[in-house]
């Protein structure tokens, strides 16, 4: 059976933009299907994560993971050079790309030079980030996603709504409909039947693919090894069946030692899906050797910067690059859980996306993302490498209003004279206690005049009313009473 990609379109192509966060959030909040799908999935993922750490001291492991990542980032330039040298020694050809466009061009040229027409892809968020599939398609090269979730999303002409579970926004019925519409199989609610159908469809394409493209979870500098974590075996197929394997990854994925991998892997699988191990863990250390019978004849590694070295320059923002892409921050985010991944309009949704996307896309487009958090801290609490996500959200809010260091693209875009004046007013009041007390006291005296409608607050809640007396005044009365009581007690004493 082959994929009928030209079959009837029942699902309109949806596009999302971070500029439209508010509208997209409104739509998602009003969509009971989306709400239910995410709530159910996130509840399940939170429970699985919580139950999976029983065999480790979570805090010790997180501390270790954070330190491994910080150490790697502290030595990033030299580790990248070591990675390149050791990969090359292993026969892996290394390419550097300053941005997504250059990376797409490198990959397209590698494909074209080999006359490749069909590419099979393992899951790679970096390739999503640079819209690789579209760029290849423009060159007449068909790229097919082989991760089941990515496959469904591609069939449905959508983008992933989660970095680990791309099709998490779809439920069984919706998937059944997509499989029926796009691949012609009978409608079924049986997950095994659908999985088997997708497997059969993909199997043919693996065999026919000229090039396999994958991501990388950890690139080990000291050995030149590319580690790939996956559950479906599609990663192994992608990286071993086609004659050419191209791995593409961001420059921050490098770790120094092979021994750094087990703790990070333990953190990644537990944080992401609550698994102790994944079904597959691939360590790719070069192309097929002369005496070997299988494996790709060529292996390439494309290292993409795309804004990352600019993040690297700032000692606070640098922490953003620790991320190992587990998705736990979105699974635990009360905002993501309610609005879903597409609402963010970015490749990386949720808390990590809100601190990463401004660097990749600029604050002009993403200015509503750093504020799309109640700063509840759930993301920072579960992050396996202890990225201070709430602090970084606040840092980006500073950048948005022009009170940061000015080194994020689009810094100052949200600065408005009106708002800045309001905060200056707040500052003046809060640093003039006499005026503050007079003001709060007046607010209490004239509480009857408090408006019962306060913008959006009162669309959903009653308006708070100032109390008749401030705490300052109550304390004064209380102290006076206590003083009197003390005095009376004094007088009674013989």
């Amino acid at each position: 059976m082959s994929v009928q990609s030209d079959s009837v379109q029942t699902h309109p192509v949806q596009t999302y933009s971070p500029r439209e966060f508010h509208r997209q959030a409104h739509d998602a909040l009003g969509n009971p299907q989306i709400r239910a799908n995410f709530r159910k999935a996130m509840d399940g993922l939170m429970t699985k994560r919580r139950d999976s750490f029983g065999d480790w001291d979570l805090e010790i492991l997180r501390e270790l993971g954070a330190n491994i990542r910080m150490r790697a980032l502290a030595r990033l330039p030299s580790l990248l050079e070591r990675l390149e040298a050791n990969c090359q020694a292993n026969g892996i050809q290394v390419h550097w790309a300053e941005d997504g466009d250059q990376a797409c061009r490198i990959i397209r040229e590698l494909c074209e030079a080999r006359g490749a027409k069909a590419v099979i892809k393992g899951k790679s968020m970096v390739s999503e980030e640079m819209h690789l599939n579209a760029r290849l398609e423009e060159a007449g090269i068909e790229a097919l996603e082989s991760d089941l979730g990515e496959y469904l999303v591609q069939l449905n002409e959508q983008t992933p709504s989660h970095i680990i579970m791309p099709a998490i926004h779809l439920n069984t019925d919706e998937i059944s409909e997509i499989m029926h519409d796009r691949t012609g199989i009978e409608r079924t609610r049986d997950v095994d039947t659908m999985t088997a159908a997708a497997r059969a469809q993909l199997r043919e394409r693996f065999m026919a693919a000229d090039v396999g493209i994958s991501g990388v979870n950890f690139a080990v500098a000291e050995t030149g090894t590319l580690c790939l974590v996956e559950n479906e075996g599609n990663g192994r197929m992608t990286t071993t069946v086609p004659p050419v394997h191209i791995a593409v990854t961001g420059i921050e994925k490098v770790v120094e030692h092979l021994r750094d991998v087990p703790p990070l892997y333990a953190l990644l699988t537990r944080s992401a899906t609550g698994q102790h191990v994944t079904t597959y863990f691939n360590m790719i250390s070069g192309p097929r050797k002369p005496e070997e019978h299988d494996g790709p004849k060529e292996v390439h590694l494309v290292l993409v910067d795309s804004g990352r070295s600019a993040i690297y320059q700032d000692d606070e923002l640098l922490d953003t690059l620790r991320c190992i892409r587990c998705g736990a921050c979105m699974n635990h985010c009360p905002v993501y859980t309610r609005v879903g991944g597409h609402t963010y309009g970015t490749t990386y949704p949720g808390p990590i996306g809100s601190i990463l996307s401004p660097h990749l896309m600029g604050l002009e487009d993403t200015k509503d993302l750093p504020t799309a958090s109640s700063l509840c801290g759930a993301c920072g609490e579960v992050c396996p490498v202890k990225i201070p996500i709430p602090d970084l959200l606040v840092r980006l809010r500073r950048e948005s209003v022009g009170e940061g260091r000015g080194n994020v693209p689009g810094a100052g875009v949200k600065r408005s004279r009106k708002e800045a004046a309001a905060w200056k007013g707040f500052q003046w009041l809060a640093t003039h206690p006499g005026v503050w007390r007079a003001g709060t006291s007046m607010a209490g005296k004239f509480r009857a005049l408090t408006p019962s409608r306060l913008g959006a607050w009162t669309d959903y809640r009653s308006a708070p009313k100032p109390a008749g007396t401030t705490l300052h005044a109550l304390v004064k009365q209380h102290e006076a009473k206590r003083h009197q009581a003390d005095k009376a007690a004094e007088e009674k004493r013989p």
């Binding site: 909040l29 799309a372 109640s374 913008g455 669309d459």
Partner: protein, 251 residues
């Protein structure tokens, strides 16, 4: 790793930082906090010039303004007494973010000195006062919402429930997803009102589903949000600051 907090022995005097929300909207909660401390034989000093910890400006990205407001508060606590704050959110701001705000400045040591002395009220009552409570109230079911500031920034998920557990007539019930944010988030509720509303809607439903007709919290921001939602829907569930609840039932 979260540093282990070493608690001092019970002092003779403490400072009380009432917070701006309590000052303006819930002054009784502040006074009840003071009463609880005084009943333990502690003299409570309320610096008159206190205003706001500066958090609203800080979380909005207005760093200079937040720093100026915080600097004014730093001056209020010259003696080495503990500073008790009846809010995990403002307490977290003072304990965690004051040192960050003034790192590398001439106020760094002062900010660190203040931050180290900041205690959230229930934390202080449990770990410093070793408070013992005798319940004089009627039997009642109550739910507790621990603020994200108390729970995560200050690591105080247990102190509120520990105090409520001492009330013999009170049955503490736990709502579903108790650790999830209520959706207040300061200016978040204004900047993303629909998302915030969806969050508080879920929170009120979870509390209502416990059967409790009262919930307590250690943060007035959460209370304003959750109670505001209950009131808007004309639901009979009432919120109360934990300080008032404890004082009311034990005095």
């Amino acid at each position: 790793m979260t540093p282990v907090k070493c608690y001092p022995s019970k002092p003779e005097k403490v400072y009380f930082f009432g917070t701006c929300l309590i000052d303006l909207f819930y002054p009784e909660a502040g006074l009840d906090g003071i009463r609880l401390l005084e009943r333990e034989g502690i003299e409570v000093v309320f610096p008159e010039d206190q205003t706001c910890c500066g958090q609203p400006a800080y979380t909005s990205g207005y760093q200079q303004e937040a720093r100026a407001v915080a600097a004014a508060q730093l001056e209020l606590f010259p003696e080495p007494w503990p500073i008790v704050v009846p809010s995990g959110s403002c307490g977290g701001m003072m304990r965690t973010h004051y040192p960050q705000l003034f790192a590398g400045s001439e106020r760094e040591a002062q900010a660190k000195g203040v931050a180290d002395r900041v205690f959230e009220l229930t934390e202080f009552l449990v770990h410093v006062c070793h408070l013992r409570l005798e319940d004089r109230g009627e039997p009642e079911k109550v739910a507790m919402h621990t603020s994200c500031g108390a729970r995560r920034e200050m690591g105080l998920a247990d102190t509120g429930p520990a105090l409520l557990a001492q009330l013999g007539q009170v049955e503490l019930v736990e709502q579903a997803r108790a650790a999830e944010c209520c959706g207040f988030g300061g200016t978040f509720a204004v900047r993303h009102p629909e998302v915030s509303a969806a969050m508080v809607e879920d929170k009120t439903q979870a509390i209502e589903a416990t059967g409790a007709r009262r919930f307590v919290t250690s943060d007035c921001g959460c209370m304003m949000n959750i109670s505001g939602r209950f009131a808007h829907q004309k639901k009979p569930v009432k919120g109360e600051h934990i300080a008032s609840y404890l004082w009311r039932r034990t005095s």
